[in-house]
């Protein structure tokens, strides 16, 4: 019995592995194709400045996507990230304008704290209100954005009002790699390892696969959900600081509509919207693909307005492909199961 059971288990695992790997491989191939086509039609696409722009854009989107992936893996969603980014960017911008001596590390911490507060509000509302995350975070999307407008009014923080040290942080590199990219990589690696190898991470996947089963297995489902929203909020806050450092100009509209790009990056990266599967690596690859598409459009002199339509199309394509693959895997497993019995 066990002899029959064991190969079945390993086969199942390897076929699932293959599917997941195929997804990330697919993104890499799409990316390579896109870069090749764009570079052939316009070699300027591979210039140092262009690559730098793509990497900096990816860094901000990837930090958001990692946080979103953590939430989506638990079968929730956080639509408020764009607004949280805006609030954090404006908070940090105002603080730096009024206290030019503030070290960059503090700016990062303050941004992450602002985000963590917003995230925990989301988490608490979802957990104790017993309300779908979609509705709560759609509400906080507008509430947080409204608060930022209320506070900022029409004022804008310009680059010349920000301390030079902070702007330099947005441009400086270490061993040729921009600081922003290093921070994004750090976030990615730490989150990736925690999700893959630590008990907390596995519990998040378990919650997403089946909340009831996770609860019966003794996982503190509510506390983990609040934790996931807190992480997503904190990372959105951190991304706000990176946004401020990169662009130097901040108004109340900063990051409007980012949530769509973030959700797109995450689902394109293979994180299932039903929760329980996907990796932050995939989400980061999704962020890279989306950012590259954005710059490729500019280089190929295609109407910039296509960007948003492509984002929407990619979301539909990704979830549609996921469903087809899942159905095929399920059919294959069923077939194999019937052979064994």
């Amino acid at each position: 019995m066990t002899a029959v059971g064991l190969p079945g288990v390993t086969a199942r695992r390897s076929s699932l592995d293959l599917v997941l790997r195929a997804r990330e491989l697919g993104i890499v191939l799409a990316l390579a194709l896109l870069v090749a086509v764009t570079a052939i039609s316009n070699p300027r696409f591979l210039s140092g400045q262009s690559i730098r722009d793509i990497l900096l854009g990816t860094a901000i989107l990837a930090v958001l996507a990692v946080g979103q992936a953590v939430v989506v893996i638990t079968r929730n969603i956080d639509l408020s990230v764009g607004s949280v980014l805006g609030l954090s960017a404006f908070t940090v911008g105002t603080l730096l304008r009024d206290n030019p001596g503030l070290p960059v590390v503090f700016a990062l911490l303050i941004g992450a704290t602002v985000g963590a507060i917003c995230g925990s509000v989301n988490g608490v509302l979802v957990r104790y209100g017993n309300v779908p995350a979609l509705v709560v975070t759609l509400g906080t999307l507008y509430v947080v954005r409204g608060i930022t407008y209320f506070w900022a009014g029409g004022q804008q923080i310009n680059a010349d009002e920000l301390p030079a040290g902070f702007l330099e942080f947005g441009n400086a590199t270490l061993l040729g790699i921009p600081y922003l990219v290093l921070i994004a990589l750090l976030v990615l690696v730490v989150t990736g390892i925690v999700l893959r190898n630590y008990r907390v991470g596995r519990e998040l996947y378990a919650m997403g696969s089946s909340p009831q089963a996770a609860k019966l297995a003794g996982i503190a489902v509510g506390r983990r959900a609040i934790g996931a929203f807190l992480v997503s909020g904190a990372l959105a806050g951190l991304a706000g600081v990176l946004f401020a450092a990169r662009f130097g100009t901040i108004d109340a509209a900063a990051g409007t509509g980012y949530e769509l790009n973030v959700v797109a990056a995450v689902v394109v990266g293979g994180v299932a919207v039903f929760g329980g599967s996907g990796t932050v690596w995939g989400a980061a690859l999704g962020a890279l693909l989306l950012t590259t598409i954005g710059s490729a459009l500019a280089v190929l002199e295609i109407n910039q307005f296509w960007q948003q339509a492509i984002v929407g199309g990619l979301i539909l394509l990704a979830i549609g492909a996921d469903r087809l693959v899942a159905a095929r895997v399920a059919a294959r497993l069923k077939k194999r199961g019937s052979h064994v019995s």
């Binding site: 309300v131 407008y149 539909l316 549609g320």
Partner: protein, 347 residues
């Protein structure tokens, strides 16, 4: 013991029926109070001219909220409505710019809306994907296409015959013309939901899709057509929006989905499906629109208004759950006090 349990059961059902009546009555009462307070305290709120503006302001929310109610009662959601409205408006402007007659443009825009809804319906019912993810995708897609069609330019100078009708009022009265559309559609949707087999199927699918299927309802087909209707009405709202402001823009109606979902949930429709009533939704729309109107008259900025809408959305989903929790804990306490004397009796 058996008498005890039936009494408890009866108590529960009357509580359930009572809860719905309560929510509908409560939301209508709150709406009336808000209207009275606003009329008394906010300058110009009670004027007949402002009534016209109020109706025009709530027009798109009211129209889109009607099919949205049915969609949410079946347990799904459509977040793409505002983008479908924007795309309909952009296409209207594009066709007007290319010198098409308005009489062909309007039917085309309605058809476009229905097609956009059918795309949602296809992904949700044929491919079986979660409506939340699908309509977030089409939210981005339709808005993006609207910008592709019209860019960031605006098209104006639509025929005065049409724009005047939309902004005008009936005869010499101060009743806006568009109120006819709202009342007619509300009647159609209200009767469909509450007095036809379609409406009963909508509730049945929302309560339990599997049970509905066993009862002979085809949930997939029902949901598909609901999405088509939702898109069609969003297309109509796009046409009316364009005529009202005499301006076709790609960003028309951006963010409207928030107000629509807020109004529907405020009206007592359960986000989990299976429960809701159209009169409550109408009251929810009126409450939301009059609050926004009163605050706008008090010089509150549009962005700050979004805070109010967002808070209302969260409160409207939290309130029923909190009420349930409170009722549950009260009932538990009652059980505890009921059960304590029993062991003593045995002694």
């Amino acid at each position: 013991m058996s008498a005890d349990s039936t009494a408890l059961g009866a108590d529960r059902t009357s509580g359930l029926a009572g809860r719905f009546a309560n929510w509908n009555v409560a939301i209508i009462a709150v709406t009336v109070v808000v209207l009275i307070v606003a009329a008394a305290t906010v300058q110009n709120f009670g004027t007949s001219q402002n009534f016209g503006f109020l109706v025009l302001d709530l027009l798109p929310i009211a129209l889109v909220a009607l099919p949205m109610t049915l969609v949410i009662v079946t347990g799904e959601i459509d977040l793409s409505v505002a983008s479908a409205l924007g795309l309909s408006s952009a296409v209207m402007g594009y066709l007007w710019n290319s010198n098409q007659p308005i009489e062909t443009i309007i039917p085309l825009c309605l058809l476009l809306g229905a097609v956009l809804g059918a795309v949602n319906g296809f992904f949700v019912t044929v491919l079986g994907l979660p409506s939340l993810a699908v309509t977030i995708g089409t939210l981005a897609l339709y808005r993006g296409l609207a910008f592709v069609v019209l860019g960031d330019s605006a098209v104006a100078d639509f025929p005065a015959l049409y724009t005047d009708w939309v902004t005008g009022s009936i005869g010499g009265t101060s009743i806006p013309n568009v109120l006819i559309i709202i009342v007619a559609l509300a009647a159609v949707f209200g009767v469909t939901l509450h007095a036809t087999p379609i409406g009963r199927a909508v509730f049945a699918v929302g309560a339990s899709e599997q049970a509905a299927r066993f009862a002979g309802v085809r949930p997939g087909r029902l949901k598909f057509w609901l999405y088509v209707v939702s898109g069609l009405v969003a297309g109509l709202a796009g046409v009316l929006w364009t005529l009202r402001y005499s301006s076709a823009r790609a960003d028309n109606g951006a963010g409207l989905e928030l107000a629509v979902v807020a109004a529907v949930l405020l009206g007592g429709v359960s986000i989990f499906g299976g429960k809701g009533a159209l009169p409550g939704v109408i009251a929810g729309v009126l409450l939301l629109a009059s609050l926004q109107n009163a605050l706008r008259l008090s010089d509150v900025s549009n962005e700050a208004l979004n805070v109010v809408t967002g808070v209302l959305l969260i409160v409207s989903v939290l309130a029923p759950n909190l009420a349930n929790a409170v009722r549950g804990s009260l009932q538990r306490r009652r059980h505890r006090t009921d059960s304590t004397p029993r062991p003593e009796r045995r002694h």
